[in-house]
């Protein structure tokens, strides 16, 4: 299956390689570099590249290309999913997955890669098992390690791999038992020029942070489970009970994990919490343009909009922007041609406005199309779909845990066409 893995930085620096079968020369990456050059933007690199003897499947995350070498037929999603899992594990271990952290923790990275794959086939990808095998680094531990020369390899033999519940460690103990659930909903929408939604839907996830002792068996139920149109679960969830009773019954992994993700059926009308009035125009002559954007609340269910950010990908010919904002700060990066207007909290009494002129490259024809706006926002204490958690029951353990549910609505891929 997966033969080798190369990590390549955005700058084209190959900084780590790992082989699970025989060693493949790193020259195979030349084909990748070629494709990378052709694509210009890192996002445009094709995920599957064919070379005369191998296939390169790559992902791009956190400014790093994870390039895996494949020799024979394999479901490409299998590899892609695994590579993302690797990136997530690094993130989980080191807090962030960047070139520097990987280089700093190179020993642990090798240990992890060795445990995650055996002969190219995934062996242990559950973070709970991995953490039992290889302890994540802490400042104290790394200090002790340097002094004593010991390593992060777990002293005890891990038992998680042997269990039928591989996602949970045995013998978990906490003094205070807590279970928190975050219902995070994202609105994906495309609004057209006039502000009507061309397309809108709600995607949600429930992130959990469960710190419970022993082997608790949890049951989470909703007030209105009918809302959920399509769901996908963490492997711990018993699908049969969902099918029959519409409750989520599971033995949780220890710590943070994503319990489920869901999709609200497209039939439901999606409340769009924000409206945008915009006017961007470029003049035929004089190589300049004008920009005027106003943002206002629409259907917010009485909550305030926070962390409002408007991002505009300007045409290549826009050299600079001379704007004034009534609220928040704006920043135009002339290299990436991205205008970011960070508004913050939205005040419904005094709508924020960004106005001013744009200067274009002289002599260049005026851009054909106006740039579209991407909007980011956050609404606390609200699940825009109306989904409500009813109750959480703990079976199998005697203690009474702290329980908590938090609702957040965010803008997902929220785009306004102009």
């Amino acid at each position: 299956m997966i033969h080798s893995l190369f990590l390549i930085s955005n700058a084209g620096d190959l900084f780590l390689e790992k082989h699970w079968k025989s060693v493949i020369s790193r020259s195979v990456c030349d084909y990748f570099f070629e494709a990378r050059e052709k694509a210009v933007e890192p996002d445009n690199v094709p995920p599957v590249i064919r070379t005369p003897h191998h296939y390169l499947i790559n992902i791009y995350r956190e400014k790093i290309f994870f390039v895996s070498v494949i020799q024979t037929e394999v479901p490409p999603l299998f590899v892609i999913e695994f590579l993302h899992r690797v990136a997530e594990t690094f993130q989980d271990y080191f807090g962030e997955c960047s070139e520097t952290t990987i280089k700093d923790n190179v020993v642990i990275v090798y240990e992890l890669l060795e445990e995650m794959l055996d002969n190219g086939f995934p062996l242990a990808t559950e973070s709970n098992i991995l953490k039992e095998l290889i302890r994540p680094p802490t400042i104290l531990r790394s200090m002790v390690n340097t002094i004593t020369g010991s390593s992060n390899v777990g002293e005890t033999l891990p038992t998680g791999q042997l269990s039928t519940i591989p996602w949970r460690r045995a013998g978990v103990k906490y003094t205070s038992n807590e279970a928190y659930f975050d219902v995070v909903e994202e609105i994906d929408a495309i609004l057209d020029k006039s502000g009507t939604a061309v397309f809108a839907e709600i995607q949600g996830v429930i992130d959990a942070c469960v710190k419970l002792s022993g082997m608790p068996d949890l049951t989470l139920s909703f007030m209105n489970p009918r809302l959920l149109d399509d769901v996908s679960f963490h492997p711990c969830v018993r699908y049969k009970r969902w099918e029959s009773e519409r409750v989520i019954s599971f033995i949780p992994p220890d710590g943070n994990f994503q319990l489920m993700s869901y999709h609200i059926s497209a039939q439901n009308l999606v409340a769009i919490p924000v409206y945008v009035k915009q006017n961007i125009s470029f003049f035929e002559t004089g190589s300049s343009g004008r920009l005027d954007i106003t943002v206002g609340p629409k259907q917010t269910m009485g909550k305030t909009l926070e962390c409002l950010v408007v991002t505009v990908h300007m045409p290549k010919v826009v050299l600079s922007a001379n704007l004034s904002a009534t609220q928040g700060t704006y920043n135009y990066d002339p290299v990436t041609k991205i205008l970011v207007w960070d508004i913050g909290k939205l005040n419904p009494q005094k709508l924020p406005n960004l106005k001013g002129s744009l200067s274009l490259q002289s002599g260049a024809p005026k851009p054909e199309e106006n740039p579209s706006l991407n909007i980011d926002l956050k609404i606390q204490q609200l699940a825009i779909s109306g989904l409500k958690v009813n109750r959480l029951d703990v079976y199998g353990e005697k203690y009474k845990p702290f329980k908590g549910v938090k609702y957040v609505t965010k803008a997902g891929k929220f785009q306004v066409r102009t």
Binding site: S22, P76, I80, E81, D118, P122, T164
Partner: protein, 970 residues
């Protein structure tokens, strides 16, 4: 060793860790550090595996350490030793690896067995000559019932011997059932393998006369008709086929995108058309995932949407393009939108396309124009609208957009040129402003082709071109020559000179293609003495009506590859791609998937516990029997007499004391207490429940729970045969139940004359044997008729025939005139072949043999009537034997039929809803094959039917049942 970690840090600074040659020099210290153990072991392993190939001699030094670790009591150490050993790519250790793999494949720990499955692939890539041996191991591991092993072994199967589909048959149902609990990576591999398997084993669920790429609307209108067709020749899905579809469906909810994709492709390739829609939502859900995932999923959706528009139509808006999407994702979405377009949705889609055309990403805008062209040809209603829209684009400022529009318009006009001469004229006007060669060439071609529609403009264009000929690109020059030739033929008066001028220019062009073309055209159109024949046809050659190009999706022929594969993504066969076979016209034999032993799953260590438990109880009962033997001497000799007097409560108490008595009414737990001291029973029950409870608490996941329940049942059965308390409710379908009837007749094993005073009798207890599951349990009564005590009575160790015999413990001393009853077990291996063995005393040896009746080789089971008929339906043809007999009138009553059948064979009676049909079920002791007997009374005849896989046993049993039912008497 610190040196080594320091080393890796320094490589890190150089930018790469694994580039070092220096690191290899450190190798000499490796073997020592492995054997010394310590925390760095893991890193040393990583290192060792990496450099083993280059430093073989040094790597070999460490082998002995791993060999030792393979025997470690800790399963994790055994597993990791095997893992590293098998990763060392040094050919010289192939035999060692082979041996280790074979051993690990039978390890008690599923984790070690999983590692063995991984090692198989490694060994195979190191030395493909080992294939045959490895297949044997794979075969063994495929039978494994642990979810841990399943994924890995199927992976090994796919790598080593994907063509050995016969190995899957017996494991098919098990794999289907385990699937949900296998880890996610294993699921992907198993699903892909099962897809291939199913395509070879089941008939097509798609209607025969249905074209594969039927359109959704057609399916909609045809549904009535379809139903009628279905009724005329009903298609019944193989239950195994259904099982696969049913068991994979929940996996659509997996968080792992690869699993969802795998299930989707399985449904696409295997499910009936109307069930396909369930995968749509899940696939659309994946579009929320990472860019790379989107790319693969969109590709697959594109292929699907060509054949089944209806599936994705409701989700059309999910494929709308965002300006932030990567270019390849945009193009794929465009492709899908084009495929989904129909009369109803085209207007929305076109409006959407209009936005895309203005995109800053010019490659994407060009692709959109092509997509508009595609829509225009596919949906004739909008052709005109599209054309007008495209003509508008001709005045776009961007060159690529204009060029692409021209090319697309050219293609569109070819389909219906007559109505659109104004568009051609418009294009001729624009011609001067267009600089992209491809677009210029296209316009010229249009002029030439339809010069009759624009008789005035065409010569003028030619005139302009003659002026600029030398400055044009090659492809434009070729088209100029073409245009000139065509005009010369249609309108030679105006263009003769122009043509000749152009041909002259072409003659001296630098490009030989153009020189060639010029020469050819000149010969063709200008009549001269040499080429008279051909030039007559010049008009017909050049002005022949040309077929319109078909604008079709790039994904049109992608479905020749299995969806979700690398080959599908690349649209070319990747190495190692396994073709998905066509459905067979006739389904191969379904019975190959029948598993003989539907024994409940037992975990090895559970068996161990059971064994310990057996030993424990045995020793207790043995000691007890010794105590009892004094006062029960008499009773045991007259055992049959006692056993028949079960109703007598007075005697019952007495008989209960005698543990060897088997024949009594089971009356719940109370009877347990009579056999063993109460405290021991308490203890064993405690252990038992604790053990099971622990496991139930530890793992609520269903299969394990079932395992536990099964083991609980086993314990119960075991207790039952020990204590004869058989009233435990046993609900598992193939679980042995208590015998309905136990015959008292004893058979002579050794006559006292031949035995020099030792006589032996045996009888079949008809109970599950405690010594082994495949054994028939026997009771031996040994009596001493001499006047001296016989010493050391035992069965000789050497068995003359192949049967596996569990001997009774040697009887140290048998007093004169005393007798003793012992139990033993014989594995007859489901045949009536006699078991021969030596019965020995201290002085003598006697050859004896036990010939079982076929009815004794069975164990009764209970099942519902419905299950019975279902199972019977599976065992037809070769597996069925039947006979018609004439019944004696006195035998017709239900009681007597039941009694007669169960006296002949150890079968369970199935409660029957029908009056004149009697059903009996059992399983063979050794292999656990079902034996189903039914007797249907049709006055005065009766039909006896026996269904079993063991055909020989079936026919023998039939003969015996026949005799029993025809004979009168009790």
């Amino acid at each position: 060793m610190l040196g080594m970690s320091a080393n890796s840090v320094s490589y890190n600074e150089q930018g790469s860790v694994e580039s070092g040659v220096d690191a290899a020099q450190e190798n000499s210290s490796i073997p020592a550090s492995i054997s010394s153990g310590g925390a760095l072991k893991k890193l040393v392993y990583v290192y060792l595996v990496r450099y083993a190939e280059e430093q073989q001699d040094l790597a070999l030094l460490s082998i002995s350490t791993f060999q030792r670790a393979l025997k470690d009591p800790n399963q994790l150490i055994r597993a990791s030793a095997l893992r590293v050993l098998s990763s060392i790519r040094v050919p010289i250790i192939v035999p060692i690896m082979m041996l280790a793999i074979k051993e690990a494949a039978t390890d008690l720990s599923p984790y070690v067995r999983k590692t063995a499955a991984h090692a198989i692939q490694k060994l195979y890539s190191l030395d493909p000559d080992q294939k045959e041996h490895l297949i044997e191991v794979i075969e063994k591991l495929l039978k494994d019932k642990s979810t841990l092993v399943a994924g890995s072994v199927v992976m090994a199967f796919e790598e080593v011997c994907p063509d050995r589909i016969d190995l899957i048959h017996k494991n098919y149902r098990k794999l289907c059932n385990l699937l949900v609990d296998v880890e996610e990576w294993g699921q992907v591999v198993i699903i892909h393998m099962l897809t291939r398997y199913a395509r070879t084993q089941f008939v097509s669920p798609w209607r025969e006369d249905a074209v594969f790429d039927e359109n959704s609307e057609k399916a909609f209108y045809d549904s009535e008709e379809e139903r009628r067709v279905d009724q005329s020749k009903p298609y019944i899905m193989d239950p195994d086929h259904r099982l696969l579809l049913r068991n994979t469906k929940p996996l659509l909810q997996s968080r792992n995108t690869a699993v969802v994709m795998a299930v989707s492709q399985l449904y696409w390739h295997l499910a009936p058309k109307h069930e396909l829609s369930i995968i749509t939502k899940s696939l659309v859900r994946l579009l929320r995932s990472h860019r790379e995932v989107q790319y693969i999923v969109l590709q697959n959706i594109a292929t699907m949407s060509i054949q089944r528009k209806g599936m994705f139509e409701p989700f059309m808006k999910s494929f709308y393009v965002r300006s932030t999407d990567a270019t390849h994702i945009k193009t794929l979405k465009l492709e899908i939108l084009t495929n989904l377009a129909n009369e109803a949705s085209i207007s929305t889609i076109l409006r959407e396309f209009q936005t895309y055309v203005k995109s800053q990403d010019k490659a994407f805008a060009a692709a959109t124009i092509q997509a508009i062209g595609c829509c225009a040809t596919n949906i004739s209603e909008v052709t005109d609208t599209c054309l007008n829209g495209l003509v508008l684009l001709l005045s776009n400022r961007d060159e690529t957009v204009v060029a692409e529009s021209v090319v697309v318009i050219k293609k569109l006009l070819q389909t219906q040129p007559s109505q659109h001469s104004d568009i051609i004229k418009h294009m001729a006007k624009l011609f001067d402003n267009i600089t992209v060669p491809m677009a210029r060439a296209s316009i010229l071609w249009l002029m030439g082709e339809y010069c009759e529609h624009v008789p005035k403009i065409a010569p003028d264009v030619l005139r302009k071109m003659a002026k600029t000929f030398t400055d044009e690109e090659d492809i434009v020059k070729l088209q100029i020559v073409n245009l000139a030739a065509k005009l010369y033929l249609t309108n030679s008066k105006q263009t003769k000179l122009l043509t000749q001028y152009i041909l002259n220019l072409g003659k001296y062009d630098q490009n030989y293609d153009i020189r060639d073309r010029t020469r050819f055209i000149r010969q063709l159109i200008v009549p001269n003495e040499k080429s008279g024949a051909l030039s007559k046809y010049a008009r017909r050659i050049l002005m022949a009506p040309k077929p319109a190009p078909v604008l079709q999706s790039a994904f049109k022929d992608r479905d020749r590859f299995q969806l979700g594969t690398l080959s599908h993504t690349l649209n070319s066969q990747a190495s190692g791609y396994l073709e998905l076979s066509d459905w067979p016209a006739v389904a191969p034999d379904q019975s190959v998937r029948n598993v003989e032993v539907v024994e409940p799953v037992r975990l090895p260590y559970l068996r161990l516990v059971l064994n310990c438990f057996c030993v424990h109880v045995e020793s207790v009962s043995e000691s007890e029997s010794k105590e009892n033997s004094d006062d029960s001497n008499k009773s045991s000799s007259s055992q049959s007499e006692k056993s028949s007097s079960e109703s007598d409560s007075e005697k019952k108490k007495k008989t209960l004391k005698n543990k060897k008595l088997q024949q009594q009414k089971p009356d719940s737990k109370d009877s347990l207490n009579y056999y063993l001291p109460p405290q021991i029973i308490q203890k064993t029950l405690n252990i038992m429940t604790k053990y099971i409870l622990i496991h139930i608490v530890l793992s609520i996941s269903t299969p394990f729970f079932v395992n536990c329940m099964c083991s609980l049942l086993h314990l119960c059965v075991f207790l039952a045969c020990q204590f004869d308390a058989v009233s435990w409710p046993v609900h598992v379908s193939l679980q042995a139940s208590s015998p309905v009837f136990v015959p008292e007749t004893s058979h002579e094993l050794l006559h006292r004359m031949t035995g020099k005073g030792l006589s032996a009798q045996y009888r079949f207890t008809r109970q599950p044997c405690i010594y082994g599951n495949s054994m028939v349990s026997l009771q031996l009564t040994l009596s001493n008729s001499t006047d001296q005590a016989l010493e050391n009575i035992h069965i000789s160790e050497k068995s003359s025939t192949g049967q596996n015999i569990h001997r009774f413990n040697a009887i140290e001393r048998l007093e004169p005139q005393a007798s003793v009853t012992v139990s033993m077990g014989v594995d007859f291996n489901d045949s009536t072949q006699a078991a021969n063995f030596q019965l020995c005393t201290k002085e003598d040896e006697f050859s004896v043999s036990i010939q079982p009746a076929v009815g004794e080789l069975l164990l009764p089971i209970t099942m519902s009537e419905a299950d019975f008929t279902k199972e019977q339906g599976k065992l037809v043809g070769m597996n069925e034997s039947s006979a018609t007999i004439t019944m004696m009138p006195e035998n017709v009553s239900s009681q007597s039929v039941n009694r007669k059948v169960v006296s002949v064979a150890n079968l369970g009676v199935i409660p029957s809803g029908q009056e004149n049909i009697y059903r009996f079920a059992g399983k063979t002791v050794s292999s656990g094959s079902l034996v189903l007997v039914s007797v249907a009374l049709k006055d005065p005849d009766a039909v006896i039917t026996i269904n079993t896989e063991k055909t020989v046993m079936g026919s023998m049993l039939l003969r015996q049942v026949k005799t029993a039912l025809t004979n009168s008497g009790p």
